[in-house]
């Protein structure tokens, strides 16, 4: 095991040198978007400075370099999630939301009809809800929800009943609001026993713990570059090669075709068939660098580091605020990640975040694109702090100091 040192990670991230007002930046919004190390920024700069060209087209030197870099990231990503079929199973999209739309509008529209059920959960991000409602409008599929318990876990007590008629179970690996980590391997077993497939939203989980799609026994994995130290503008859709081969094209245009004639077109085989138009090449280069960087850190180190930080923060939040600050999520570290949603008694989340901003603290107030979950707990919004490999205990110190200021101010 390599030695992990969060301070060394911080030294790699230029944005952490910023000062906000008179304070050093305290970045606690990694669940929304992570910060980028120089390795990612430099790889993208070098692409634009030295080898910018379109991919899969020209024969000149820079074009083949660009293509090699773009396709190289497919290899890196396949290795990162241990895709059994390798790079041929990795489709690049714009973000996780587009990946879910690809799943619903291609696989879903081709495989689901009126009366079929898509089972999601009450703790999903809107990206794993709205595309299914849109498919319902189009085909009449039923969208069903696994409820969330008062302990912020999936209520699996009625799962066998809920699975009736289900063709796809689509569930988040880790809640972007609660921090709850779901039992994906167990859910995959249940789904397959009922003849259903399982899709996993890995947006919050892939950069914070090792992911092995084969060991998890899942059928689809969706995630995004900018929450894993990579750039915005690139997302990933993974499925097994046989499923991908059976899926109809999604967006149409250049790049995704094998042939176009006056009477029609033939889609390209493999992932290219789902990547219409000039793809996000620089972003793919950046994503490849992000994967290499995360592999260098070692995800088992990252999970241990974030686990310790989160445990410390949960303890201190409970001790120091005498019930005035409530954690909306599991209170201990059992199956839990580094996302902490807070409800501050008598203070609106936007006011909390505004006060925190004056201390240089970056947190996210709002519904976190999970309105059904907010309603479930009778909240309009929460303040969310989230940790990354570059977070330190001193970030929690500043958070707590700023929080007590907010509590006093509005108390």
């Amino acid at each position: 095991m390599t030695a992990f040192n969060a301070k060394r990670v911080r030294a790699d991230i230029p944005q952490l040198n910023r000062r906000i007002y008179d304070h050093p930046i305290t970045y606690l919004d990694t669940a929304s978007t992570s910060l980028q190390p120089n390795a990612v920024i430099d790889a993208m700069s070098r692409y634009y400075q030295l080898r910018h060209a379109n991919v899969h087209r020209a024969v000149y030197q820079t074009a083949s370099e660009a293509t090699a870099a773009y396709e190289g990231t497919r290899e890196h990503v396949a290795r990162f999630i241990n895709a059994p079929g390798g790079a041929e199973e990795i489709v690049f999209t714009k973000n996780a939301t587009e990946s879910f739309n690809l799943l619903a509008k291609s696989w879903g529209a081709a495989n689901l009809t009126s009366g079929d059920v898509v089972l999601v959960t009450e703790m999903e991000h809107h990206a794993n809800i709205v595309p299914w409602f849109q498919l319902r409008e189009q085909t009449g599929v039923e969208v069903r929800f696994i409820p969330v318990t008062d302990d912020y876990r999936l209520d699996l007590s009625q799962l066998d009943d809920l699975m009736k008629g289900v063709k796809l179970l689509s569930v988040t690996g880790m809640s972007n609001v609660l921090g709850t980590i779901n039992p994906i391997n167990e859910l995959a077993g249940v789904a397959h026993r009922h003849g259903a497939l399982i899709a996993v939203d890995g947006a919050q989980s892939v950069a914070h713990s090792p992911t092995d799609v084969g060991a998890l026994d899942i059928d689809f994995l969706i995630f995004t570059g900018h929450k894993m130290l990579g750039p915005t503008g690139i997302g990933v859709f993974w499925t097994r090669e046989d499923i991908l081969a059976s899926m109809p094209p999604f967006l149409g245009g250049g790049g995704m075709i094998a042939d176009v004639r006056l009477d029609g077109y033939i889609a390209a085989e493999g992932p290219t068939g789902f990547e219409a138009g000039t793809p996000p090449i620089a972003e793919a280069v950046g994503l490849g660098a992000a994967v290499l960087y995360l592999e260098g850190l070692g995800l088992s180190n990252v999970v241990r580091h974030e686990h310790a930080l989160t445990e410390d923060a949960l303890t201190r939040l409970t001790l120091e605020f005498d019930g005035r600050v409530r954690v909306i999520g599991p209170p201990d570290m059992t199956d839990r990640g580094g996302v902490i949603s807070l409800d501050v008694e008598g203070v609106h989340p936007h006011d909390v975040a505004q006060v925190l901003d004056q201390f240089g603290v970056c947190v996210r107030p709002g519904h976190h694109c999970a309105k059904p979950l907010m309603r479930r707990f009778g909240l309009a919004a929460t303040v969310r702090a989230s940790y990354g490999p570059y977070s330190l205990t001193k970030d929690t110190d500043v958070l707590l100091e700023a929080l007590s200021h907010a509590v006093k101010m509005f108390g």
């Binding site: 007002y21 936007h350 006060v355 107030p365 519904h367 919004a381």
Partner: protein, 153 residues
């Protein structure tokens, strides 16, 4: 902390902690309008009782941040019992106060051109303009009031 104190002035915190004109009016005869901010989930219901071109009574319910709630409370105190023409003037002046001019952001100390005396306690909300993302919080109740007045006409 000066920016923060400018945003959360004592008058604002006072109206947040003890909002004026909270409650409902029977509708009809009162006009009932809902305002909603889908981005942050703030919501407000404004009840208006208009007689002889005078805003005889105004009541409000809803939830939101201190800026949206205090702005609603300050608004209700400013317009209650006033002729509609004067209410519309107050609205126009307040909306002008909430308009971000490039100079406001570039030069912190540039005085606003709005007649602050005409606004009375409402002038306490001028610090909001330095936090552009919060302007929508301050204007939610006002836009809802405008909607209600449109129903009178």
């Amino acid at each position: 902390m000066s920016n923060l104190d400018d945003l959360y002035r004592e008058i604002i915190l006072d109206h947040y902690r003890s909002p004026r004109n909270r409650g409902e009016l029977e509708s009809p005869p009162a006009i009932r309008v809902e305002g909603f901010n889908p981005l942050c989930g703030d919501e407000i219901v404004v009840y208006l009782e208009v007689e002889d071109n005078v805003l005889k009574n105004i009541k409000m319910t809803g939830t939101g941040c201190s800026i949206s709630q205090s702005s609603a409370s300050l608004m209700s105190a400013a317009v209650k019992g006033k002729p509609l023409a004067q209410v519309r003037e107050t609205i126009a002046t307040f909306k002008e106060l909430m308009t971000v001019h490039e100079s406001t952001l570039a030069h912190d100390d540039e005085p606003t051109k709005v007649d602050l005396r005409a606004l009375g306690e409402l002038a306490a909300l001028q610090g909001v303009v330095k936090f552009p993302v919060r302007i929508k919080c301050a204007t939610l109740s006002w836009n809802t009031l405008i909607q209600g007045l449109d129903e009178v006409a």
